[in-house]
């Protein structure tokens, strides 16, 4: 071999090596959170028995908003003999948040519409957090300016530039405008609706909604069909409404009940013909509310602990759990259990529940991918400026929310939270797709999605973390929400009380809180401590 050939061969052999060494992305990151492996393993394998069963009044299984709200209610009634078990390392469920050197940021739910006067529980919570600053002459609450979403709230990317708002007015025809107004007239009509008992058709939480037949009838058809029936075919309008379904329910127009579709808009109206209620938000999203709620539990909250079975016993309920931190089985003998987790977990933990309540199989949860992008600087902007919520019209994803928007930082590093529901018709197939995604696939999906609006983004990212939510939010499919058997899933079962947002068929902070308080008040009544309801 000649010297020259040798050198060439050497160079050629190291070339692929050099290529492999160069990372695909100029930044780091990982798949974070959600202890799926532990969850699935514990549910599908026999578990060791604990050495003893510690007596306790109430055991709350699940440290999401429902479980933490139940604990908040119990503590508010002076009951402190309880524990909250949370599988994950951090409580909060889909209201979880995190923090890095740049900002606090949400991992999922990130806002709350300001409550009306009748939403006592949310008002009470917000007063405790200092977000309600007082009441005006009419008795309406006044909210802290720094907690209401700072303008500009939303913008949309279309035709190669950003536009103010979420509804694309640029290029809308007269017919588009007519249909837009026609739709919101329908919303106003429903916002004005009161049944014989004076209850509105749509209110938050849904336990305050009318069950009058004309309102319930809306649940019998899909939002798409309902729009078709009214000749509402404007692509812009339907894009907006489909976006709302994907955003709040992880579903599409044709897989969302018309009741849920109208609920999204009508329940947020301050009154017929008036604007939607302003939104409250914080840099860490609803993690702000979780931070407050968890204080009520204090050290009675145990993270990294998963209940694996709940068996009735002559003195109450025997609960076995796996403490992943200390790698041991632990047990409680509880007078009552509040199961504040999803039904698909409940059926594994509570014997006979699944067979007794077949309606639980009708609950379908949409999977989501959420990414947090830490940026060392902001991309160049040419059209409507960076808003809180930034949506790309021609995208399967929902866009991104800017964590530093509410902390008033308009320059320098920031964190963007990017959301994508897997909104295809079959939740199980969508979940399989999601779980097959690794970090590079996810990072590529995020960057590809944002590239049309921010071609220079990749060089500004210093970190990109991804969370895969297998069961992010319940889908309000047509026929679910007012089904009697579905609604009965919220009733107690052999000493176990249930609290979870999916029991409303709507994934909302307020629904989770409402179920948590209801379950806690059921338990308080059983324990012989009836209270005035906070609901």
């Amino acid at each position: 071999m000649k010297r020259r050939d040798f050198l060439l061969a050497t160079a050629a052999s190291t070339l692929p090596l050099a290529c492999r060494r160069k990372p695909e992305f100029p930044f780091g990151g990982e798949l974070v959170g959600l202890n799926m492996a532990l969850g699935h393993r514990l549910l599908n394998a026999p578990q060791p028995e604990p050495d003893s069963f510690e007596p306790i009044s109430v055991l709350i299984v699940g440290g999401g908003v429902a479980g933490l709200s139940a604990a908040w209610r119990l503590a508010g009634a002076g009951v402190d003999d309880f524990r909250v078990l949370e599988l994950e390392a951090e409580p909060g469920g889909t209201s979880r948040s995190s923090r890095n050197h740049v900002s606090a940021f949400p991992w999922a739910a990130h806002y709350l519409p300001v409550p009306d006067r009748g939403n006592h529980a949310v008002l009470r919570l917000l007063q405790e957090c200092g977000v309600v600053e007082g009441f005006d002459a009419k008795g309406d609450p006044l909210f802290a300016e720094e907690a209401t979403v700072r303008a500009p709230e939303e913008r949309i990317f279309a035709y190669g530039q950003w536009w103010e708002g979420l509804y694309l007015r640029a290029g809308a025809s007269a017919e588009d405008e007519r249909q837009y107004h026609a739709f919101f007239q329908e919303v106003d009509r429903w916002a004005a609706f009161k049944d014989a008992k004076g209850r509105p058709a749509f209110s938050i939480p849904r336990s305050r909604c009318s069950d009058a037949p004309e309102a319930r009838a809306l649940d019998g058809l899909s939002f798409a069909t309902w729009l078709d029936q009214r000749g509402l075919t404007s692509p812009r309008l339907r894009w907006l409404l489909d976006y709302a379904c994907r955003d709040d329910y992880g579903s599409r127009l044709d897989t969302t009940s018309a009741w849920a579709g109208l609920f999204y808009f009508a329940a947020r109206k301050q009154g017929p013909g008036e604007d939607s209620r302003p939104l409250l938000t914080w840099p860490q999203g609803n993690g702000f509310l979780v931070d407050h709620l968890r204080r009520a539990s204090g050290d009675r909250l145990r993270c990294g602990v998963m209940a694996t079975s709940i068996h009735p016993d002559q003195n109450g309920l025997l609960v076995t759990a796996w403490d992943a931190v200390h790698q041991r089985a632990i047990g409680w003998r509880a007078r009552r259990v509040i199961f504040a987790g999803p039904q698909h977990v409940a059926k594994h933990v509570i014997p006979d529940l699944g067979t007794a309540r077949p309606a639980m199989t009708r609950i379908h949860n949409a999977p989501w991918l959420v990414a947090n992008l830490t940026l060392r600087a902001r991309p160049k902007e040419f059209s409507f400026p960076l808003a809180w919520d930034n949506v790309l019209r021609d995208s399967e994803a929902l866009g991104y929310v800017v964590a530093t928007h509410q902390s008033l930082q308009d320059h320098g590093p920031t964190v963007w939270t990017w959301y994508r529901p897997f909104a295809g018709p079959d939740c199980d197939a969508e979940r399989a797709r999601l779980l097959a995604m690794d970090w590079p696939t996810s990072a590529r999906m995020v960057l590809d999605d944002l590239r049309p609006a921010h071609p220079d983004l990749e060089g500004l990212v210093s970190r990109l973390d991804v969370m895969r939510w297998g069961h992010a939010m319940v889908r309000p499919v047509p026929g679910l929400l007012w089904d009697a058997e579905f609604l009965a899933l919220a009733r107690p079962f052999g000493g176990v009380h249930f609290a979870h947002t999916e029991l409303s068929g709507l994934a909302l902070f307020e629904e989770a809180q409402d179920h948590g308080i209801r379950a806690a008040e059921e338990v308080l009544a059983v324990l012989g401590r009836p209270v005035r309801s906070w609901r």
Partner: protein, 516 residues
């Protein structure tokens, strides 16, 4: 000591083939060009870096030594001197002609301005240093040595005189730095072209050389035609006067222009002050609050990175501490170093009582604590973006109040009550909604128009009747008169500017659109 060679022992002259007298005229021209490039570099660096003594001194030093280097290098050129001379003219034309645009761009877009500056000065100096020795060698066989030295050096020095008179009297005021340097580059190239004619007998075929000359002249002519876009300033045509400083900071574009006996500061193309009448604005901003609280010790200034409000504040002997919170370090650095601005603010930012904080004032108010202030001045650019609009919200005024003593005074620059009447009263009403008692006032600032401020305090207060004696505009009577509003500027009902509605940005943009 060697014996001087007798003059008559010089080699006999060859039959003249060149038009020596005309070549002497090109000496005059190239000498003028050479000095112009030197003056351009010196002026430009003292505008941009300040300290004109140092800048001129170093630029001249580097330039002259580079000329020496060029002269020394000339001995290494042997053949085809005429051709070399024409190429040299074209090289000087390009480097010298484009020196001003190159230097402005380097200042605006790189961090290595000094390297570029001395590199350009070195290059131009070296090339210019080559010119005269080569020309003398071309002529040496055709002109007697004593006549050659006398003629060339005389015209060289006269050319320098022309240039040094033309530059300050005609070129700078009429053309500005960029056009001057490009114009003289064009002249240099023209000398090159003309030389192809004068030196024809030594050049051989001239077609390619002439084409080169024309190409260089065309480049410089294009440069001259697009001087506005070429320089740091796409916006030079927007500004009435010549740009003497421009910098893209992380937050904004800072531009200083000069002309008509004054200079102006622009941020993102919006006029912030003109040195001709800024005293009216800053006296009105600062002194009324002192009229109510003459004993004020601790003063907060939000915005106002130009240091002009600080200058007025420091006129009050009671002041012990001034904290200036301005977002942009590039702005406060300019206020400290740029000689024109520094002179105008009296080096206020270097006063020992002044502390400069570079931060977003609202974030700073929200996230820091400290002893309360007796006076606060809010001197932000007008609310034409959401990022600026937040600094005029009720939340901002509440955050501000947390940092003040109970009887502290606040003064807010509040745009024009005449041109943007609703915006002005929106600011006043928003301050009221945040719990302040307000007393709006206004005065005429010719560069801006009728301008408004809001004087406010947590407690009731009376309109000031006394101001500091010895001001240029404000007297006791003039101060009191500012608080009366004529009918076309009087209060109108408006919404409150909150973080979650930012109505002011919309109002402001709509109202000012009518005047632009």
């Amino acid at each position: 000591m060697g014996e001087a060679p007798p003059a008559d022992s010089e080699a006999p002259l060859t039959q003249p083939t060149l038009r020596a007298p005309l070549l002497f005229i090109s000496v005059l021209l190239i000498a003028s060009c050479g000095l112009i490039y030197e003056l351009v570099a010196g002026t430009l660096s003292s505008y941009l870096l300040g300290d004109s003594v140092t800048q001129f001194s170093t630029v001249i030093g580097v330039y002259l030594s580079a000329m020496g280097l060029g002269s020394w290098l000339s001995k290494f050129l042997h053949r085809g001197l005429a051709r070399r001379f024409v190429d040299l003219e074209l090289a000087v034309a390009l480097v010298g002609g484009f020196s001003a645009p190159i230097l402005f761009q380097a200042f605006a877009h790189t961090h290595a301005f000094r390297v570029v500056l001395y590199g350009v000065v070195m290059a131009v100096g070296t090339l210019v240093g080559l010119e005269i020795p080569i020309l003398m060698r071309i002529l040496k066989d055709q002109v007697r040595f004593k006549d050659l030295v006398a003629g060339v050096l005389t015209l060289d020095y006269i050319g320098a005189l022309f240039a040094s008179l033309l530059f300050p009297l005609l070129l700078m005021p009429k053309l500005g730095l960029v056009r001057t340097s490009l114009l003289f580059g064009l002249l240099n190239a023209a000398v090159g072209l003309w030389s192809t004619h004068l030196l024809q007998s030594q050049l051989g075929p001239t077609r390619m050389i002439r084409l080169r000359c024309l190409a260089v002249m065309a480049m410089l002519a294009v440069g001259l035609a697009f001087a506005g876009k070429f320089t740091l300033a796409v916006e030079e045509e927007i500004f009435a006067d010549e740009i003497v400083y421009a910098r893209d900071s992380a937050y904004q574009r800072i531009v200083l222009t000069r002309g008509r006996g004054s200079f102006q500061l622009f941020l993102n193309g919006n006029l912030q002050f003109s040195s001709a009448d800024e005293y009216r604005y800053h006296e009105a901003l600062v002194h009324p609050a002192f009229g109510v609280r003459p004993e004020a010790k601790r003063v907060l200034i939000c915005g106002g990175g130009d240091g002009l409000a600080v200058r007025e504040v420091l006129k009050h002997p009671s002041v012990q501490e001034v904290v200036l919170v301005d977002l942009d370090p590039a702005m406060t650095d300019m206020a400290r170093r740029q000689p024109m601005v520094r002179q105008l603010n009296g080096a206020a930012l270097d006063d020992s009582r002044v502390k400069v904080v570079n931060a977003d004032a609202m974030v700073w108010l929200q996230e820091t604590t400290g002893p309360p202030f007796d006076l606060a001045y809010v001197d932000f650019p007008d609310p034409n973006t959401y990022a600026l609009g937040k600094l005029y919200t009720s939340r901002f005024y509440r955050l501000l109040q947390r940092r003040l003593t109970d009887n502290a005074m606040i003064t807010v620059q509040s745009t024009s009550p005449l041109m943007a009447r609703q915006s002005f009263w929106c600011i006043a009403a928003t301050m009221e909604a945040s719990g302040l008692k307000v007393r709006p006032f206004h005065l005429a600032v010719p560069s801006f128009g009728v301008w408004g401020f809001v004087l406010a305090s947590k407690r009731d207060f009376d309109v000031p009747t006394r101001v500091l004696p010895g001001l240029r505009h404000l007297s006791d009577e003039a101060a009191t008169a500012m608080f009366a509003f004529p009918k076309d500027m009087d209060r109108v009902p408006v919404e409150i500017n909150r973080l979650d509605n930012q109505v002011l940005v919309h109002l402001y943009t709509r109202e000012w659109r009518r005047w632009s």
